[in-house]
Symmetry: C2
Subunit: 116 residues, 2 copies
DNA sequence: TGAAGTGCTATACTTTAGTATATCGGTAAC
DNA sequence: GTTACCGATATACTAAAGTATAGCACTTCA
């Protein structure tokens, strides 16, 4: 058993958790979709218009993904015709702090790389 | 000028900063390379061996990338043969807190999705 | 002398993420 | 009665990221 394997294991677990987080955060559209929903857009077409440039195929796919990740909820209302609404979950709220950390680090990083 | 454009602009700037951060963090190897260097590996082959599974081509490319992003420094020593050492910069240290946030959110998220 | 290590680079390939475009069944407005 | 909106889905494509494999100029080590 190599000397560093314990730390190495811990490191691999860390990387897995980081990867879990990144799966949500690092796709091109997921954050934008959540932002659009937070901004009050509930309907498919509203979100599509708010973001601009996303294809319905991507939006459909990412909405499903976000629902599986319990970040948004899809509600179907039995109106004529059926109305569908997407809302963010409380769990999605916990993203706010994280995104803010990413944002501030991103700003700091840009200064470090290009000079103030 | 649409009503929400100010918030929308701020939102787009946020997304840019987040994207800057993600460019560093979300590649398959960059964090692993930095971790390997933090663990005391300074030489190309040491890093390669520590990580395992990375091709020399990727390692070479990512090291250059990390240097451009001022997260590591490449030093050439005029020995026979020349020795090359990679070290992490103080700026790279600022990643630790961020990665830790990603890690803890990742753990929390996994619990939220699969239940405790 | 020849095998193995060092720090790479080149070429070609595969895999994954995202795009473009067309379409669908329903409803409602003109 | 045809045009447009809604919430999508299907098929096919392109671009970006990463992999596989070989090799190079050099230097030890046995």
């Amino acid at each position: 058993m190599p000397v560093n394997s314990k730390e190495h294991d811990a490191c691999k677990k860390s990387l897995l958790a980081v990867k879990d987080a990144l799966d949500v955060i690092s796709s091109k559209w997921k954050l934008q979709i959540i932002f659009a929903i937070w901004a009050g857009n509930k309907r498919f077409k509203d979100i599509e218009r708010q973001i601009g440039g996303i294809s319905p195929r991507m939006l459909s796919k990412e909405l499903k993904d976000l629902e599986e990740h319990k970040l948004i909820v899809r509600k179907v209302y039995d109106t004529q015709p059926v109305t569908i609404e997407y809302t963010a979950t409380p769990h999605a709220e916990t993203l706010k702090e994280l995104v803010d950390k990413l944002r501030t680090w991103g700003i700091k990083h840009r200064k470090a790389v290009f000079g103030k």
